[in-house]
Symmetry: C2
Subunit: 444 residues, 2 copies
């Protein structure tokens, strides 16, 4: 009898977590990972900081070198190897170490997401970059070496982090966002604080201004919008990602929420023996109660854990996410969890929104700063639907709200949450508790 | 018909929150507050930082001056006024503004806690201080002016914060704790990291060494234990507090958990029309499911809110606390929520404990540091029972765990909590999630 064989396509957080999990639970099984890029287990989220120079070498973005997986964990990892054919029970791959045909018993599709390249003229010029894998980072850092003035297209997490990092390097940055506000995962009223911070740090901000094309002869020389033509030395596209379902579709897997691979709570796809996890797969939104697609590394890690456990014969469900994300733009911390007011309305709730601004220390204690919170609740039930935070020390409030949202907590539960207090850390009335108190009053 | 009259005894967080709440809900009612000290709405937790000089003036520890309550909120506040007689429907008080007799319809006992003075010789010598009200702080700061070498008796929150602050002023500090470890609200294994930090910063630590007496002729000159006699210039007693139930007992109220005034979930005492809130009252521990006494400012604030609402005819329950507390000792942050392993065992659980040590940033991102967590779970049910944290950035993990404990979450819920991630803030596997993952494995 042939050794039981598991194939994992994609060596990102979901793939490597799942592969490690399978090998741990079934040490005698054959576990094969195919990864297109040169690296596995890498931190794509660190790319903006590599561009800015805060992270000096690409190797530092790799959590574990391939050798750890190969030698310590006994996983067959093939990097720079692309799966070229996929059918039930069989995968063919080609790469630097040769061609492989593997007969698999169980498959994990963990092919992640790929950058959206907007269908505008000039995107394939030299000097235009997208950022997803570490090789992109390397190319882009080289690209920036001679640059003085750079256009960043897209005002989401990556676009903002890249803008910050390029400013820190002393470059001129023009940030283009087609929507009226940056950071569309926040409501516009909260996003406007981020826009102030960007301008204060010299980012030339163009919101509500879609890029129509990139001009240049051979090399990008200018960005064109309805309002003007802006000469630049390089263009970084950060307009979003979509699930990389090409191989999943080759296999005939059903797609679900927002074009991601449909999975059940055990992360099984529509095909027997095939699982999907990470950015390629849909997830479940505990606040809306519906499938959703929220591609983020912690979710990918946990989906990998769940998929790997189930692939190896275990039994664990992925309970879903609430949509937590944070970032930092210059001196401003930004966090969100659950639904924004806009998302709540789209999901069919009648939302109540509360804004507060509070100090993160008692008045007499030095340090801390101002934290602005927007709490969104369901008018009908009093249920907490989401929290947005900008300012300082967002993490404790966002993490506590994430835990509350996980459990379907009400605003009253949020008020009574036993948040930590001591003068060096937080005021006796924590900002989250204050926001909940205001919401309680308004819900009456 | 006489105006409906509410009397609040005690102008601390619970009393002033309740008085404000009553006046807000019943603007026409008469609301009288009696406070023994010169200040209301003050932050006793700031006293250690006043002693250390970080807070320069006592006035800064007062959240709102009396005039705000009197003029803006229409509350009759009498400071430096002591209630000398209390019977159903009637209170007599004496103070700087005269003698008062008030016929009350509804009463709140919010007399707080008072420092335990150990029954040892010499505690009434000059140069021996306890810290509870702001006047204590003033006296103690004067006392320290000529001092070079100070004994702090008691290694709980106040004792540690005072030790840190006196060291920061350049004083020699001898810290005496009768138990084997400082900070008895943590397990000994976690407390030992605090002891290292104290020693590293030059605190002369005497654990397991009860103070038998204070020597001196008229003025404290030395502290005596079984192991020696230690010459000092001043002694600060911080051996704990107990509920100040003297007036409650005069009225004949029943006492409950750990000698605090017994209350139901609406904070009603055993007597019709009489409520209790804050440090004088018992609370409900959501983790053990039993009455408990955990005197802390955020709890007092919320109990005041609940008591005030119900006194004014509203209907709200206090759902209890999980026992969250944080502090900082030199460079070490310390947090805890729920039960320690020892407390879990005492409460009848069979606890599983997990220790982890994790970085609070991805390896490639600068900043952050090491956070040590001890997670305690119930072996039988997998329920999360508590979290202890020492190191850096304890707040997000303690606050998230507090929210989880509030909802009776399991270790698996903790693992799947959608904690925030971004390189400037936290690693993709948050330390809390790592601790939960290890606990999940051990629970199998």
């Amino acid at each position: 009898m042939a050794r039981e064989t598991f194939v994992v396509i994609g060596g990102g957080p979901a793939g490597m977590t799942a592969a490690s999990r399978v090998k741990r639970l079934k040490p005698d099984a054959r576990v094969v990972v195919f990864e297109r890029s040169r690296y596995v287990s890498y931190a794509a989220c660190g790319i903006p900081y590599y561009l800015g120079g805060l992270v000096d070498s690409l190797d530092r973005l790799v959590h574990y070198p391939v050798s750890v997986f190969r030698e310590k964990r006994g996983i067959e990892v093939y990097t720079e190897t692309e799966v070229v054919s996929l059918e039930p029970g069989r995968a063919e791959a080609r790469g630097k170490e040769g061609d492989f045909t593997v007969e698999w018993d169980t498959l994990l599709v963990a092919t992640g997401a790929r950058p959206v390249v907007p269908p505008i003229p000039g995107v394939d010029l030299d000097g235009v970059a997208t950022l997803r894998i570490l090789e992109d980072a390397e190319r882009t850092r080289k690209l920036l070496e001679g640059a003085r003035r750079v256009a960043v297209v897209g005002g989401g997490y990556i676009g903002l982090e890249v803008s910050e990092n390029l400013r820190e390097r002393g470059l001129e940055v023009l940030l283009f966002e087609m929507l009226p506000h940056v950071m569309p995962t926040l409501d516009g009223d909260m996003a406007s604080y981020i826009e102030e911070e960007l301008r204060r740090h010299g980012v030339e901000l163009h919101t509500g201004e879609p890029v129509r094309g990139i001009r240049g002869s051979g090399r990008a020389e200018a960005v064109e919008t309805d309002k003007g033509v802006y000469p630049v030395d390089a263009v970084i596209l950060a307009v979003g990602v979509r699930p990389d379902t090409r191989l999943a579709e080759m296999l005939g897997l059903e797609l679900g929420a927002r074009g991601a691979v449909r999975v059940d709570s055990k992360l099984r796809t529509s095909m027997e023996g095939v699982y999907a996890a990470g950015d390629v797969a849909e997830t479940f939104n505990r606040v809306t109660g519906k499938p959703d697609w929220i591609p983020l590394a912690p979710t990918a890690n946990k989906m990998g854990y769940v998929a790997g456990t189930n692939m190896a014969g275990g039994d664990i469900e992925f309970p879903g996410v609430v949509g937590t994300a944070v970032t930092k733009v210059f001196g401003l911390e930004i966090g969100r969890t659950g639904l924004t007011e806009k998302q709540a309305r789209e999901a069919g709730f009648e939302p109540l929104s509360v804004h507060i601004s509070a100090k993160t220390r008692p008045g007499y204690y030095p340090g801390g700063g101002v934290l602005r919170l927007k709490l969104v609740a369901d008018k009908a039930s009093g249920r907490l639907l989401g929290l947005q935070a900008v300012g300082v020390e967002v993490l404790p409030r966002i993490d506590a709200a994430a835990a509350l949202l996980y459990h379907g907590a009400t605003v009253k539960d949020a008020f009574f949450t036993d948040m930590a207090y001591a003068p060096p850390f937080a005021p006796a009335w924590d900002p989250l508790v204050i926001a909940a108190r205001v919401a309680m009053r308004k819900l009456k």
